[in-house]
């Protein structure tokens, strides 16, 4: 039976889409059958981040309205066996589908996939309600900044009100240089404030931007963020993986990349 996971945050721009794409790709690399769904109607992005924007024929709204079968809308990612994307509609808006329709869809998906990841839009209105409706579990993404933490806290409250049983925190864009100077909150600072279990912390990494430029996920690149995402995937499948010591790792990565550059 598949697990339906929504990736949400409240605040926009903290890394939900990047996280969805990378966890999706990472889980497929571990041999799981994964469907990632972009539920941001009107502002689709998951396709672009994954480099699949030229393969879109049908979308989530078409499937829900019965205009096509799921298999026709699902895009298989040729670089990742068992990874599929159901893209959003660029021309509709959030009112085009309802939570009830999403619940019906996700129930049909449970038998087919090991994991279904829903990329949730920013905000707390209908888009959010649609995305969480059918989910068993939520990943709340935040950055170590006041505004995103505040929004994440609100989202956690709303998820609890909506009876979401499993909640996990992902802290994105940690900059160890700033943490050491006391100018950025650390992983510990954030987990003290937000009362849900941490499933992973992702360092700020240029490779993420480079990856998006090329339509590649960082789990496939030589990247510290990619390594952190891979560890999250391993934890999702039940493996116990110690958290990366970002401080030590960052130094090591820089030393190694300098070595390669000189050659």
């Amino acid at each position: 039976m598949g697990e339906i996971i929504v990736v949400t945050s409240g605040k926009g721009g903290v890394g939900k889409t990047t996280t969805t794409a990378n966890i999706g790709a990472g889980l497929s690399k571990l041999g799981k059958k994964v469907l990632v769904i972009d539920t941001d109607l009107g502002l689709r992005n998951l396709d672009v981040v994954m480099g699949l924007e030229n393969r879109i024929v049908y979308n989530l709204v078409d499937v829900i309205e019965g205009g096509c079968r799921l298999k026709q809308a699902m895009i298989s990612d040729k670089r990742h066996e068992n990874l599929y994307l159901l893209p959003s509609a660029q021309t509709k808006d959030k009112s085009a589908i309802t939570p009830e329709q999403m619940i019906k869809l996700t129930n049909e998906l449970r038998d087919e996939f090991d994991y279904v990841l829903l990329d949730c839009p920013a905000g707390i209105e209908q888009g959010f309600q649609n995305a969480i409706a059918g989910a068993d579990r939520a990943f709340v993404v935040t950055t170590p900044e006041v505004s995103s933490i505040r929004d994440a806290d609100r989202i956690i409250g709303l998820l609890e009100q909506n009876h979401m049983k499993k909640l996990n925190l992902i802290i994105n864009r940690i900059r160890m240089d700033m943490v050491k100077r006391g100018e950025m909150m650390s992983v510990e600072d954030v987990t003290e404030i937000l009362p849900i279990d941490l499933i992973g912390a992702i360092p700020d990494d240029e490779q993420v931007v480079i990856g998006t430029n090329q339509g590649e996920t960082v789990v496939d690149m030589d990247s510290l963020a990619g390594k952190a995402y891979t560890n999250i995937c391993r934890r999702i499948t039940g493996e116990e993986v110690p958290f990366l010591d970002l401080d030590k790792q960052e130094g090591l990565f820089h030393k190694l990349s300098h070595m390669f550059k000189r050659n």
Partner: protein, 76 residues
């Protein structure tokens, strides 16, 4: 290697954490930030009537569904 600066004294993180603590409490219980201080003060006063407690160890945590009062300074 960079020299460890006196930066920690001017740490913006400390300010951020204090602001957040205040913000989240007032968001969670939907009241003004000072209300939290007033609430803590009254709780301390009331509990102090029945038990021996010290201000240093007395901590009140408000989450969305609970108020947790820590009396001993130990982490649970």
């Amino acid at each position: 290697m960079h020299v460890f600066e006196r930066g920690m004294h001017h740490s913006s993180v400390r300010i951020a954490k204090e602001r957040l603590k205040s913000l989240l409490v007032s968001d969670r219980v939907q009241c003004q930030p000072d209300t939290y201080d007033l609430l803590c003060g009254e709780l301390y006063h009331t509990i102090g009537k029945y038990m021996k407690i010290t201000e240093d160890n007395f901590k009140v945590e408000i989450t969305r569904s609970q108020i947790r009062i820590n009396l001993t300074g130990e982490k649970s």
